[in-house]
Symmetry: C4
């Protein structure tokens, strides 16, 4: 049985599109990952095997339980940092999609103690809080990777009920109650970080920036659901995928049955 046949094609396609959308936006490089909680069993989640995001296909998606044990690996390698996903799904029943990225303009914020703050309506969710995960608070001399359940649980605790958290010297984790939100927030977190960097340069030395206020964050964050963006991003990503899949699928399926 194919490792993907037990999952509906639409959720698999969503996750494949998610990887490719983030790669196309420069939010994930050859690393970074996107997961969704299974719509059939909320105690499991879907995540790609250890492969570069830009080339993820449906054949790369593995199902995990919330302790991040693979349920259908069939010889495929799991990513070391899958515990980010499992532990957040445990701690946050409202979350059905998690993104881990190396968002390039977000990393500088993570090492300077400068708080990301909301200044652009499309990223109003930043006003709901973007805490900083300092791995050194929990373990010394690490490679900065969240590569075990304990660190994953610590990260989930730091995240709390926020929409995203920075990971010092590493990147960010971004969550949502659906994949449009986890992907959309990832795209606009990076853009907002760029805008904040520029606004801080412009405002120097007074430093006065007109942030969204609490009432505006409360009004804007729920509205900004990226529902106009996501279908466009998704369709474009899946269109780019089709020709490649058409030619390579037969060969790949054969390779697997030989294992």
């Amino acid at each position: 049985m194919s490792p993907t046949s037990s999952q509906p094609i639409s959720q698999i396609e969503d996750i494949v599109a998610g990887y490719r959308v983030l790669a196309a936006h420069g939010i994930i490089d050859a690393y970074g990952h996107v997961s969704v909680r299974s719509q059939f069993d909320p105690e499991t989640y879907l995540l790609a095997r250890s492969v570069a995001p830009e080339i993820v296909t449906a054949d790369d998606i593995i199902t995990y339980d919330l302790d991040s044990n693979p349920l259908d690996a069939e010889g495929r390698d799991s990513v070391k940092e899958r515990f980010i996903h499992g532990e957040i799904y445990k701690a946050r029943p409202d979350v059905t999609s998690v993104v881990h990225n190396h968002s390039p303009t977000v990393v500088p914020f993570s090492v300077t103690g400068i708080q990301l703050r909301p200044l652009f309506h499309m990223a109003a969710f930043i006003g709901q809080g973007v805490p900083l995960f300092e791995i050194r608070d929990f373990a010394r001399d690490t490679d900065l990777l969240v590569s075990n359940p304990t660190l994953g649980a610590r990260l989930a605790t730091v995240l709390g009920d926020a929409p995203a958290a920075l990971m010092r010297g590493h990147g960010a984790v971004v969550v949502g109650e659906n994949i449009a939100r986890s992907i959309g927030r990832s795209v606009y977190l990076e853009l907002s970080a760029k805008m904040q960097l520029q606004a801080m340069a412009l405002a120097w030395p007074s430093g006065e920036i007109n942030w969204l206020d609490e009432g505006e964050v409360r009004a804007s964050a729920p509205v900004q659901d990226y529902y106009r963006a996501w279908p466009m991003w998704r369709d474009k990503a899946l269109a780019g995928l089709k020709s490649a899949r058409g030619t390579s699928k037969g060969k790949k399926a054969k390779g697997k049955s030989r294992k």
Copy 2:
């Protein structure tokens, strides 16, 4: 009857190209919009339905009266912020095209109180004034969207007879007496904002920048009509559109007749 058959193909094509040109230049993201005043009835204007700009086609264009009531929606959703367009067309008889965008380097200016000033001849129109619309002056605890006629009218008042206005924490509105101007000014407003940010960094701490003077603005602004750029941008955008339209139009038309 098709919702577009009452409009000449060239004006429809202009607006479709406008959306795609701005998306290609990174001036509008999955949001933002372009409208034109109808050449047949100046008391109506054309604007795309609620769909991501990069995928707008002729089938997405809706006609509105100046109170922003759709006249031929046929079930298509209108964008919430169409009042930006309607209220500006009411207040500015000279304007026949309006762009609303999230121009990324313009947003930082909108939250710092740093005035955009003219320094590049291609964006000399900035010297005619780019006022700031602070939505908080008119409503508290908003989602920053100009989603009703009152806010639209306030924005039109702030715009006055200027070629563009910043919208705090949100983006900009840019107008022109034709679409070449509204699109061209949008492209060069973003570029000029980048140049100003760099010039301010270079000039620090003296802050001395050699802006275009009044006489230069007066001489340059009318000349910079983007008439050499617009046909190239337009043709490229429409060329990219052709193949897609050829294959998808039949299917779409059918979908509509079923409503």
Copy 3:
């Protein structure tokens, strides 16, 4: 007779490639131009008609005398600023190619009085001097365009024997004893401006930057002839051109014979 038939195909192809290479590098936008001195008659030069650089083809090239009168326009419009080219060819017998551009990171230098200085071996020519043309020294209330012979001659005087000059609030003019140099210098002038902007930010507040010294400029500038880059850039640009030319040439030629 075709307006291009009196010129060898290779020089025409060079100039067409030049326009497209600079557009691909973001050095010229919808405006800007590239000329070469005719290899058959040094008292004439070749420049494209008034058309966006990205779509220039061989059919767009016009021959001018050094007073910038078109010799074979056949109804095609000349660019207003052709006097930049003609007057420099008069003043500089060593120059056989001239580029006028709106190089985006160069403009901020032109309005701040911050001198471009050599810090990167590929742009060592900057050490030979990059003077600033302030149009206000010669005419008030202009549109900043060098649109008559007098302003062209003034620009040529400011340029002197330098490889390039900045034009305040406008862009730059870059020259070379061949097109590889005028194009290569244009590409690396922009890159060096970016590097200098970053170096100045890094070096703040000491401002200490380790510029190339005079001996290094003397040794580097002649070596950096862009002869490894130019054929690659040229071939890529002409390859992109071929399919379009194949389909459109017949139609265009016909259109012309009807005039």
Copy 4:
């Protein structure tokens, strides 16, 4: 006999892919080079002839001894700076791949004395040291090129046992015990330089940045081997190469036999 037939296709393909991957990432411009130590004879190395990186094919690869004498040039021109490679292979038995680049955000660091420091786990190797090669310490009035064995040996001495060294006003040299490392480190050195520039701007004036500490560098650097990235980059580069090679190879081979 073809100059490449004595080398296994996989190592040749690696080096061709390396050139193209770095060009695609903007790490090398029309200049810069990638070499590998021959897997058959560690006293020789492979490097492309003097040609722009973006168009390197298998036919362009030349074998050199460690004194950088070409062994199978067959009339092909060698790059002037090949001594960078030969002298490093002599001094560093652990190194099997060397990259020389003009990494654009690295050059500004090279001229300001600001040390690159580790802040991003993907570029943790920076914590192992990135010394600065100041050519003026060894020769005056140069064109900055490492164009003889003596300068190559000096550069190797400055590099010491580090993973990379900056070359003042010129670029960088990056090494690895395999090509995944030399290419991956080149990509992430540039990205880390960008992040450091932004972090320094954000942290101004306190200047406090939370660098990776020694324990983290020790734990991270070995893990970051770019083994997930390299196959993706390589495959994409070689896919882009195939069609071109299919059509041009026959002609090229003929051209060579005529020499």
